[in-house]
């Protein structure tokens, strides 16, 4: 075994032939306790895309829901009565709770975090329905619907999520520079709602609707920021709109800096910031002139920032980076609240729970970290990936199957994807997590030995970054489901009401329908869509998604944090 490359040759021969098994063995479904998730369809980039651009960028995906405009007539297939009952509850609640500040009305739905400005997306997006109407929606842009935006090589591509067409309906090319990140502002009432960061550091904001209405292959009506890298010439890595931020967005770069921009301001206003004194320390500098854009620079860490995520209410910003730290900032106070280090290696992705109580982070230690905002430390490590964790998200549409019986017990469902090409689903039950923390797992006498152990007994003070915890001190989670979804390493995942989207680095997205979705749609929208659903078998299933929605929202709304100020 030791030191010898060839000593095991005969033993290897058999296993290597297995390991080389061809990839088409991917299953088109996976099972969970609540039923089967089925591969519904795939989205890809145009087939003619140049090969040489591959590997230059990693595909990120964003969902964008374009809302109704007052003017255009409503096509019959997507009439408002097509909303599922559960969505109705959700939107009504949102209006109610967000009533005091209109711009936040839908802000709570973006719980899927990471860099993806994920929207609830699905007020219209019942996929089973649209399969019968997609021919019209792609041919004739009607200014509404849910769109999948993704980058690949030197292009940004837009697909109609409700269409089964594999090829995107729209391609925008940047020619020799690479768009690497993008975000959609679900709350934008006017003006630009899509922001795109490039490999050169340049940033553009545009109107998504305007791009879709145009037939060309160039970005149109764009505002250009950090032109030719005048403020920062390092690669953009992540962009995010500030929830409820009135058109403010942040752009993170590979040199550890983050810039705050306001879309209402001209991009040309020059900004200069003082040199950073200490690369290892967090510091914020504001632009000196009111016309300047960006308006502020946050120096977050040494080395690259890899991902950003705002809490759904916009109060907190989480950032992860090359140095392995998760950092959580109070966004308006520009203060570091808490944070901690990975077990080892860089962190690559992060996401908030809808209620703002937990943050997921994943990275080069192959672990999915669950961070508690209340305890300001890691409360669980998910073990199950065989390579780096590249995407994490809470499933905010899920609730425990028997939510009514369990009373106060809170459960979360979350997902993660990795460079091992796997999608993992996890259940986080709070009782399971909290108890082992007070009593170290396995009953081993960790209290007396480790210096680390002491910090598990108390909540660390505000503003302090935690060192990497010891392996034995953190409770472990095992995945509920592990499914190999692509042949390429993955880069992200998005939960929608009807499905889970998995995205691979090379620009392919797969849409996995939740169990019972088609059936529940049928019961909700029978009056309008009975004709289009004729071919679907009748279902005896309970209305899964409806139950999930009310259950989940009921729990989260009482959390108090989301609309707390």
């Amino acid at each position: 075994m030791i030191n010898s490359a060839n000593g095991m040759a005969s033993a290897q021969a058999s296993s290597s032939s297995l390991a080389n098994a061809p990839s088409p063995g991917l299953k088109t479904y996976f099972k969970t306790p609540e039923g089967r998730y089925k591969l519904h369809y795939e989205k890809g980039h145009p087939s003619g895309l140049m090969h040489y651009v591959q590997g230059k960028t990693v595909t990120q995906a964003t969902l964008a829901h374009l809302k109704d405009r007052p003017s255009p007539p409503t096509p019959p297939s997507q009439s408002s009565s097509g909303f599922s009952a559960s969505s109705g509850v959700r939107s009504a609640a949102a209006r109610l709770l967000g009533g005091s500040n209109g711009s936040r009305a839908l802000s709570f739905v973006g719980g899927n975090g990471g860099s993806k400005s994920v929207s609830a997306s699905s007020r219209l997006g019942s996929l089973g329905i649209s399969s019968s109407s997609n021919s019209t929606s792609t041919a004739n842009f009607d200014g509404r619907g849910t769109y999948l935006i993704f980058n690949m090589g030197d292009g940004i591509f837009i697909s109609d999520l409700n269409s089964q067409d594999k090829e995107p309906m729209k391609a925008i090319y940047f020619n020799n520079v690479y768009p690497v990140c993008h975000a959609f502002d679900q709350d934008a009432k006017e003006g630009h709602d899509l922001v795109i960061g490039l490999s050169t550091g340049d940033v553009y904001s545009v109107s998504l609707r305007q791009q879709l209405q145009d037939s060309g292959k160039k970005l149109i009506g764009a505002q250009h920021y950090n032109k030719d890298g005048s403020v920062n010439s390092s690669r953009c890595i992540c962009v995010a709109w500030v929830p409820g931020g009135d058109g403010a967005f942040v752009v993170a770069h590979t040199d550890g800096n983050l810039y705050v921009y306001e879309k209402s301001k001209d991009g040309a206003g020059d900004s200069s910031f003082p040199a950073i004194k200490d690369q290892t320390q967090f510091s914020v500098a504001h632009a000196r002139y009111s016309k300047s854009n960006p308006i502020a620079r946050w120096h977050i860490c040494q080395g690259s920032i890899n991902s950003l995520a705002f809490s759904t209410d916009g109060a907190y910003l989480a950032a992860v980076g090359r140095d392995g730290y998760l950092r959580v900032f109070d966004y308006s106070k520009e203060q570091l609240i808490c944070g901690g280090k990975s077990y080892y290696g860089a962190l690559l992705c992060c996401a908030w729970s809808l209620d703002g109580k937990y943050i997921l982070a994943g990275g080069e230690d192959d672990l999915v970290q669950v961070w508690s905002m209340e305890e300001r430390k890691v409360v669980a490590w998910g073990e199950g990936h065989n390579s780096w964790v590249s995407g994490v998200a809470f499933d905010s549409y899920w609730s425990p199957p028997n939510a009514d019986d369990t009373g106060e017990a809170v459960m979360y469902r979350f997902g993660s994807v990795g460079q091992d090409t796997q999608l993992l689903l996890w259940d986080l039950e709070l009782d399971e997590i909290v108890v082992p923390l007070r009593r170290p797992p396995g009953g081993s006498p960790t209290f007396s030995t480790g210096s680390q152990s002491a910090h598990w007994d108390s909540t660390p003070p505000v503003g302090i970054l935690q060192p990497a915890p010891s392996m034995r001190d953190v409770p472990k989670l095992s995945p509920l489901v592990a499914h190999r979804v692509h042949t390429e390493p993955l880069s992200g995942l998005i939960f929608t009401q009807e499905s889970v989207l998995t995205v691979c680095r090379e620009g392919h997205t797969k849409v996995w329908m939740r169990p019972g979705v088609a059936e529940s749609q049928a019961s909700n929208v029978e009056t309008v869509l009975s004709t289009s659903l004729k071919d679907k078998p009748p279902s005896t299933k309970v209305n899964y998604s409806g139950q999930a929605m009310t259950g989940t929202n009921g729990g989260f709304f009482h959390g108090g944090r989301i609309f707390g100020h």
Binding site: M1, I2, N3, S4, A5, N6, G7, M8, A9, S10, Q12, A13, S14, S15, S16, S17, A19, N20, G55, T254, G303, S304, G324, Y343, Y344, G345, A346, E364, D365, D366, H385, N386, S387, W388, Q419, D420, T421, A468, S470, M471, R472, T487, E488, P489, R505, E506
Partner: protein
């Protein structure tokens, strides 16, 4: 050559590390396997320092004709260059290597990992012989034993056999323990083995962490492969597991990218994408978990097959990453390291794959 050197100096500017030398190594016809490993070893600072000390304190070394002397001579030559960058011909070293190991030359491909192994064992042999010569009075029954290569140096029940602890051992040697639990009497039998590097089986789209986990996964011995339990005095079903008992100072990980495919009757290169983090912790240890390692060198095999190809190396020196390709030395960005992970698809234009990884244990004052 001179231009390339000045280019590197320009790139580093006033950040050029004090006293450091970045020299390419001339290729004497298919000696890139050798050059790539020599660069990785040169930038293994504790090893280099000890080798330079050895050379300085053994003046007669210059005249000796063994690989250790030739390597010490080469490293001293590099480190004492007046220029900061340039090219050196490792002529004496390569001549000695070829003279010493005909077997090595006759291999189908010259394997950088086998070369590294051979070199470290030769150095240990020489150091042990020298130590024995000075001791002179002790009559050792067995000749200096190679610490590497196979189970012949494994010792039942107990630590490794008492041996001279040379500075090669201090840097590279770790101890594995092979724990076997008899499923009848539950007795655990532990057998220790020393190692200079870990050879890991690899899988497509996996990480080093995962490969290490597989290396230490539990194996059940049953059917025709039962275990002879000393306590039960019979063959019994048992569970076997390999753990790291003593993590080495310098952790060398060899990825088994060359596999013998029986159906083809030849070796095949596995271009699998195996990601390696810049920092690593070992989870498969007996104790002493959580000690952190930092990547400082990667030997890269370039090419689609095992019989031809090229070796280059990536080296981290004073927080800069450098790319060594025989004579050429370039600065690269840390993020460029990930282009050497391998390919997620079997047929790919990317043929540059990390082959030997060098990690240094942190927190002991030996940061390079």
């Amino acid at each position: 050559m001179g231009a390339a050197g000045s280019k590197l100096e320009k790139a580093l500017g006033d950040q050029f590390p004090e006293g450091e030398r970045y020299f390419g190594l001339e290729n004497f016809g298919n000696t890139c396997y050798c050059n790539s490993v020599l660069q990785a070893l040169y930038f293994c600072v504790p090893f280099r320092d000890q080798l330079l000390d050895y050379y300085a304190s053994n003046k007669s070394v210059g005249d000796e004709d063994n690989l250790l002397a030739c390597l010490a001579d080469l490293f001293t030559q590099i480190s004492s260059q007046k220029k900061k960058t340039g090219v050196i011909a490792p002529k004496r070293f390569v001549q000695r290597l070829k003279k010493q190991n005909e077997l090595f030359r006759s291999y189908m491909h010259q394997d950088a990992h086998e070369f590294l192994n051979f070199l470290l064992n030769e150095i240990v042999d020489t150091l042990e012989k020298e130590a024995q010569a000075t001791k002179n009075d002790q009559e050792t029954s067995s000749p200096a034993e190679k610490t590497a290569n196979g189970p012949k140096n494994a010792h039942a029940n107990g630590g490794p056999k008492e041996q001279l602890d040379t500075w090669v051992h201090k840097n590279f040697q770790g101890i594995l323990t092979n724990e076997t639990r008899c499923l009848r009497c539950e007795t655990v039998t532990a057998r220790d083995e020393t190692f200079f590097d870990l050879s890991l089986d690899i899988e497509q789209n996996s990480s080093i962490t995962s490969c290490l986990k597989n290396f230490s996964s539990t194996e059940t011995l049953n059917a025709e492969d039962k275990f002879f339990c000393d306590k039960c005095c019979s063959l019994q079903e048992a569970q076997k597991r390999m753990k790291i008992k003593k993590p080495p100072q310098i952790l060398v990980i060899h990825l088994k990218r060359f596999k013998y495919i029986e159906q083809l009757g030849r070796y095949k290169k596995l271009s699998y994408r195996v990601v390696f983090p810049l920092e690593l912790k070992l989870s498969n240890t007996v104790e002493d978990a959580d000690s952190e390692y930092s990547l400082f060198a990667v030997v890269v095999h370039v090419g689609s097959g095992p019989n031809h190809g090229h070796y280059v190396s990536l080296v981290k020196s004073h927080n800069h990453w450098l790319f060594f390709d025989d004579e050429n030395v370039e600065m690269i960005d840390e993020s460029a390291v990930q282009t050497f992970f391998g390919s997620a698809q079997e047929y790919s234009s990317n043929t540059d794959h990390g082959y030997i990884l060098f990690y240094e244990r942190l927190g002991n004052g030996h940061m390079s």
